[in-house]
């Protein structure tokens, strides 16, 4: 079973040299800590930064340098600032290679719900709808089941959608899965997790094709 850092670490193995990557708030943000050695990855933040670095040292925080999560950050050498229209030109124009974001539900056809729970205060979709409608490559980082123990990998989303048919991969504490036209294809088991456990935690159609390898982190 993976913890949050484990999920981030598994996702980081999908990073490729030269990639431009947009990381959502939460677990996705942790992916930046596990960029494999020897490759260069540039992080985009949709409020207008490319080449985002780590948090600033104490006392060096700058109100003018924040990320999309409104946290103080730094810029790496070679980075660039731009405006919000240009930022979404990058996203909508498919110049960003990989988007990693969290989800409340994912359907077996790749629909994603992550912005609204009916009856609860709605905070807004922020940039999520643009990101999922535009990205060539979307990986969802989330828990396999919700707090009530119900599967978040469903035949059909029950919550209001953020986007349709867009999720390509999912990494949870239990598994690494691909969304195919036939359903969720199990690619890897988290360390110490059985295929049976994953099957029990997945409500949407799960494809188990042969022996499923355990993740190498």
């Amino acid at each position: 079973m993976l913890d949050k850092n484990g999920i981030a670490k598994r996702i980081s193995k999908e990073l490729k040299d030269g990639y431009y990557v947009n990381l959502g708030i939460g677990i996705p943000t942790l992916v930046a800590n596990y960029v494999p050695e020897g490759i260069q990855v540039t992080f985009q933040s949709e409020n207008g930064l490319l080449g985002m670095g780590p948090f600033p040292f104490e006392g060096e925080e700058d109100a003018d340098v924040i990320n999309a999560g409104k946290q103080t950050v730094t810029m790496l050498p070679g980075g660039v600032y731009f405006d919000s229209a240009t930022s979404f030109a990058m996203i909508r124009g498919e110049h960003v290679d990989l988007t990693v974001l969290g989800a409340m539900e994912v359907s077996e056809t790749g629909d994603i719900a992550n912005w609204k729970i009916p009856g609860k205060m709605v905070k807004g979709m922020g940039g999520a709808m643009d990101l999922v409608a535009s990205a060539k490559n979307i990986i969802v980082a989330m828990q396999h089941v919700n707090k009530a123990g119900e599967s978040k990998l469903l035949p059909k989303c029950t919550l209001p959608l953020t986007g349709i048919g867009c999720v390509k991969k999912i990494v949870t504490e239990l598994a690494y899965l691909e969304v195919t036209k036939d359903g969720f294809k199990l690619l890897e088991r988290a360390p110490g997790v059985s295929t049976e456990q994953i099957k029990n935690a997945t409500l949407g159609k799960l494809i188990i094709d042969g022996e499923i390898p355990e993740m190498q982190l």
Binding site: E46, N47, I66, S87, M121, M125
Partner: protein
């Protein structure tokens, strides 16, 4: 000779009255037109429709207008971090229209650029697309989104000159740039106002033609919403 230069926020905001639609620059609390917001609170202008990416926090940014019940309708992409907002919304005291962030940015840019409508993929298949025209281009589905028609745009820049040319610093460019020119009248407040000719013509982000009024803000608090730091080893 005509001049774009105004003494302060109070003078620059002349003509803003109740029930107008106003576009506000900034992202979160970053790059906010602080002096104009404070002055609108002071002027007690009411019934505003505000177009802005966020709604501020309880005691800063547009949160200050919310607290005084000056906002009738909020058009934004993300309105978390604000308890008073939630209270007014749940009690039906506030109208809210939520828009995908990229669509919001592009609608502002379209308003500035005289593009009445454009197609975008954001929100296709979701409730955002309800009632909107959809169309396929090159095998992908898109929705038709329209520009805004706002009375004023209020933006904040780092440096400005007396011709209205603006330079933003770091991540404060955000919505300020596409919003500069989006309203019938654009007001820019700047940290430093310099004579025309002092800014490098290659480095100006917003050409002065988009800005009708400019003033140097009295002071900038530049509040940080989430201070995140790492310790020095």
């Amino acid at each position: 000779m005509s001049s774009k230069i105004f003494k302060n926020a109070a003078e620059a905001l002349q003509g803003i009255t109740d029930d107008m639609t106003i576009i506000f620059g900034g992202f979160g609390l970053c790059g906010l037109p602080e002096n104009c917001i404070a002055e609108i609170v002071k002027k007690e202008i009411k019934g505003l429709t505000c177009i802005s990416n966020n709604a501020g926090v309880d005691d800063f940014g547009l949160g200050l207008l919310l607290k005084k019940r000056q906002i009738k309708k909020m058009i934004a992409s993300y309105v978390g971090e604000n308890a008073e907002f939630e209270r007014q919304l749940l009690h039906g005291e506030l109208e809210v229209e939520l828009i995908p962030q990229g669509t919001l940015a592009e609608r502002c840019r379209a308003s500035t650029a005289g593009i009445p409508a454009f197609f975008t993929p954001a929100g296709y298949g979701t409730e955002v697309a309800e009632g909107k025209e959809t169309r396929e281009f090159n095998g992908k589905m898109y929705l038709l989104e329209q520009r805004f028609y706002a009375d004023f745009s209020i933006v904040k820049a780092w440096k400005g000159d007396t011709n209205g040319n603006l330079i933003y610093r770091a991540a404060t460019r955000n919505f300020n740039l596409p919003m500069a020119g989006a309203g019938k009248i654009t007001i820019a407040e700047v940290e430093e106002l310099v004579p025309a000719g002092e800014l490098d013509p290659d480095q100006i982000h917003t050409p002065g033609i988009f800005v009708k009024r400019i003033f140097q803000g009295e002071k900038y608090e530049k509040r940080i919403e989430k201070v995140t730091v790492r310790s020095r080893e």
